[in-house]
């Protein structure tokens, strides 16, 4: 829309500028004006909804609400307050637990599935569609379905365990806060089912780009299956493997919807599946009565810095040498 408005203008003005005093400078300014006219819509949206909120998050984390409206300087008090909150430490621990478990389940599985799919000569299209189908479901649909499977009274999973005469479980509502808790594993299973399709298809595309001669040569040299995977497949897909590792860790550190829907926004028994982003949400919007945007911002700043430091360190460690 903005583009249309500015584009019509130069045409109408062109005669005026040509005869005007602007002389040689005219066309250049005009070209720049129309170029900025095309940019302006996106720049306004970035300013209001991306650049300004980033700065504002830092500012808000050092402010406090004043009785009767407005904000005042608060120094580090928001940070001090959330450091003293035991839930804060719990949330970080849970997020780390989720991230590590999601790596164990969700990072290796897509790679091996992609390896398998790449070897099959039949039914590949069908299997590819299957793996990606859950990615397309609205998360609430998929998670409400899992919440139903996990239901301790009538859920499918406990029914299967009962038929097999195994002890049943409370799944996401299983108490206990060990580092590998049943509750968190349940969240990770649902999350992996929902999300693994995308990574699988990206790996599959990478595998298809490996030149066949490499395998040919390795086989002639007597390399077995495992050594071919180790010395050809993995080095050839190294960049994609590292890229997805980074993206997956950054994404799982921001886990929210899985635990939020599966545990009815409670964060499990004794907060054992409460994540950092859920705690941001609770600080900002769900704390009874006194919602506190400033503590939430302080926590947001911490998560932002942790993720930025992690990404930076990761990229630095894995940079191409030479």
């Amino acid at each position: 829309m903005a583009g249309v408005a500015t584009l019509r203008k130069p045409k109408a003005e062109s005669r005026a500028t040509r005869t005007g005093a602007a002389g040689r400078l005219g066309p250049k300014i005009r070209r720049n004006l129309s170029a900025h006219g095309f940019l302006i819509g996106a720049v306004i949206c970035f300013t209001f909804f991306s650049w300004y909120p980033i700065i504002r998050e830092f500012i808000m984390s050092f402010q406090k609400a004043v009785y009767g409206g407005g904000y005042a300087w608060a120094g580090w008090s928001n940070y001090v307050r959330i450091f003293r909150d035991p839930t804060f430490w719990q949330a970080w621990r849970n997020t780390l637990e989720f991230t590590l478990l999601a790596l164990v389940f969700g990072y290796a599985a897509p790679f091996f599935v992609a390896l398998l799919l790449n070897e099959l000569r039949h039914a590949r299209g069908y299997l590819r569609v299957l793996v990606y189908l859950p990615v397309m479901l609205p998360p609430a649909s998929a998670l409400l379905l899992f919440a139903y499977f996990y239901n301790p009274q009538y859920g499918l999973f406990d029914d299967i365990l009962r038929i097999l005469h195994l002890p049943t479980s409370q799944w996401v509502f299983q108490p206990g806060s060990g580092f590998v808790s049943v509750a968190m594993v349940s969240v990770v299973i649902a999350s992996t089912w929902m999300n693994m399709g995308a990574a699988t298809l990206i790996y599959l595309a990478a595998l298809q780009n490996i030149p066949g001669e490499l395998y040919e040569a390795a086989e002639l040299d007597g390399a077995g299956l495992w050594r071919r995977i180790r010395h050809i497949t993995i080095p050839q897909t190294r960049l994609i493997l590292l890229m997805l590792l980074l993206l997956q860790i950054v994404a799982t550190m921001q886990m929210f919807v899985e635990s939020f829907v599966l545990t009815n926004q409670g964060g499990g028994v004794g907060d054992n599946t409460l994540s950092v982003v859920m705690l941001i949400y609770q600080y900002a919007f769900a704390m009874s009565g006194a919602s506190n945007y400033n503590s939430a911002s302080a926590l947001g700043v911490m998560l932002m810095l942790v993720l930025a430091a992690f990404s930076g360190g990761f990229l630095w460690l894995t940079r191409e040498r030479g």
Partner: protein, 311 residues
């Protein structure tokens, strides 16, 4: 229709013996007796296990909505609805006001798409071909936002939305609260700009000499060439709004009549609604995305890899 087309395509793509490119395991070893048997076993296992794991839950998603409330919570569970209750779908549709939820989601998704296409295409075109003063700085600042994970910004974004600076508008509860932030998507701009960069400038120069305005060049030269990338951006733009949860929960939650998206609407109704109705509602919410996927599966899969990685 889509299913037919997909099977036809799959049939065409099935490789003829000898024409496959070499993968981890050589074609020759698969033709040996032992190799053939192992391959058959692995293939069968893969098809059975994948179908169980990925279609299994989706099967229950669609059939359990047909069960009565008693049957849904019966132990042991029934594999298929013994007394089908298509009425649960109708009941869920009315009780959750699904018609409105569907309409809201479609309205938000296509509105966001329109804003993204107009503003992001225009911006990428300007950055790639018109190259204004400070364009590179702006592009760098846009790309820098990719380093900031989106969920950590929800609080300042929400507070900004309640009182836009300078304009002093409260957009919470309006469709713009969903539409406008989707424009601030550096990944879209990056993809579009990279594609526009590959368009030879000879075309642009020729049109310029003929006296075409920048808008005319965008419309008659750049857009027709860029159909594939615009397709990718559109598909992922629609899916992103359809799947988003946290942001619509913050800005469209708790209005009467409801302004929620499907995703938030069925979650909000989940507690205190009989289980079979919730499953039926979840199934209905999933239908459009599944149909959309089956129609556009080739574009979606190509987009996943061509566009690099979508965060």
């Amino acid at each position: 229709m889509a299913g037919l087309a997909a099977t036809a395509r799959a049939a065409r793509r099935r490789p003829v013996a000898g024409t496959t490119t070499r993968t981890l395991i050589s074609g020759a070893s698969l033709h040996r007796r032992r190799g053939r048997i192992t391959y058959r076993v692995v293939l069968t296992l893969a098809i059975v296990v994948f179908t169980l794991v990925f279609i299994g839950p989706i099967y229950f998603l669609f059939t359990d909505g047909l069960k009565s409330t008693q049957e849904v919570i019966a132990t042991p569970p029934t594999l298929y609805p013994h007394q089908p209750h298509p009425g649960s779908y109708v009941q869920a549709f009315d009780r959750l006001d699904m018609a409105r939820l569907f309409w809201n989601t479609i309205y938000y998704a296509f509105g966001a798409l329109a804003f993204q296409l107009v503003f992001d295409v225009a911006a990428a075109y300007s950055l790639s071909k018109l190259r204004p003063v400070l364009g590179n700085v702006i592009f760098f600042l846009m790309l820098a936002t990719l380093m900031i994970p989106s969920t950590v910004l929800v609080v300042p974004q929400y507070v900004t939305m309640t009182d836009l600076p300078i304009l002093h508008l409260n957009l919470v509860g309006t469709p713009e609260a969903i539409w406008l932030p989707t424009v601030a998507n550096a990944f879209n701009i990056f993809l579009l700009k990279r594609f526009f960069d590959s368009i030879p400038s000879d075309y642009i120069d020729a049109a310029q000499i003929d006296g075409a305005s920048p808008l005319r060049i965008l419309r008659s030269i750049v857009l027709p060439i860029s159909r594939p990338i615009i397709g990718v951006v559109s598909i992922f733009g629609l899916v992103a709004v359809w799947k988003d949860f946290l942001w619509p929960l913050l800005v469209e939650y708790g209005y009467t009549p409801t302004r929620e998206t499907l995703n938030v609407g069925i979650w909000q109704a989940a507690y205190g609604t009989p289980q079979n109705l919730i499953i039926a509602a979840s199934a209905m919410a999933a239908v459009p995305t599944i149909v959309f996927f089956l129609i556009f599966q080739r574009n979606i899969m190509a987009g996943l890899t061509a566009g690099g990685i979508r965060g």
